[in-house]
Symmetry: C2
Amino acid sequence: MEMMAEARAEVRELGKRATPARLTTLLFLRSQARPASHAEVSRALEPLGFDKTTVFRNLNDLCEWGLAQKSELGDHVWRFEPSQSGSHRSKHPHFVCVDCGTVTCMDQIQLTRGSLETSRDIGKVTEILLRGHCNDCN
Amino acid sequence: MEMMAEARAEVRELGKRATPARLTTLLFLRSQARPASHAEVSRALEPLGFDKTTVFRNLNDLCEWGLAQKSELGDHVWRFEPSQSGSHRSKHPHFVCVDCGTVTCMDQIQLTRGSLETSRDIGKVTEILLRGHCNDCN
DNA sequence: TAAGCTATTGCAATCGAATTGCAAATAGGC
DNA sequence: GCCTATTTGCAATTCGATTGCAATAGCTTA
């Protein structure tokens, strides 16, 4: 279980307590291929004896500390995913299927030069979210 | 009040009843420069004697009928805006400032050819949402 | 234009995610 | 091992979204 030891070190490094609930929450996020909602994480951790609220607070704490990120993908549910190791700030675009709700992480999306300028007139873009119909839903 | 008469005709054309609450809701959306939340619309219409729930249902009905569109812009609140006259399906991208919450409608945003292909592998994109820090918030 | 059918409304109630309060439990420094 | 500040667990609250149902009111038609 070196994953656990690693997580423990990361949390301790932040001056926070490496509690079982906290470490398990972090490991769970890291085990998922997609951002997970609070409900999903709770559903997985409650059977292990961890409380819903504790999970909730840890998810938010992890975000606050840069170990995870929270995003709203269009269905009124916060989703959490671990920060990319290395650069905590790197966010990748997401694609959400409006039919089945499936969330897909996308490596890279670029805007055309013109669109970049347009968006620059408005502000600094830090996050891109695409919505539509996934191929499975046709 | 030809705006009203126009709205009435549009609603009637859909085979729906042109009730005061419904028409007023539609006119209100059309009077706004930005997508409005249910709360915002209610706040404006309740003093006029229209019920919160009625507004809620009309907003959703209008969306279902193509006269308005609903989107989730990242703050867990549905926002409604009238469909662009002409083509009901046209959606334009939105930019949301994560600091002040201001929503800006963008005329057009294009992805680079490569990004388009990437996204095509995943599904058909119907909506683009950009988030970041607006120029006012620096 | 009055009657009748059905869509719509108003109000109360419900739902579920998000969030908080507080006392009990516990991680980690000493 | 002890002590204290952090964290947890559980109950309770908030708030937007949503529903049930009886009352009301558009609109069609006779």
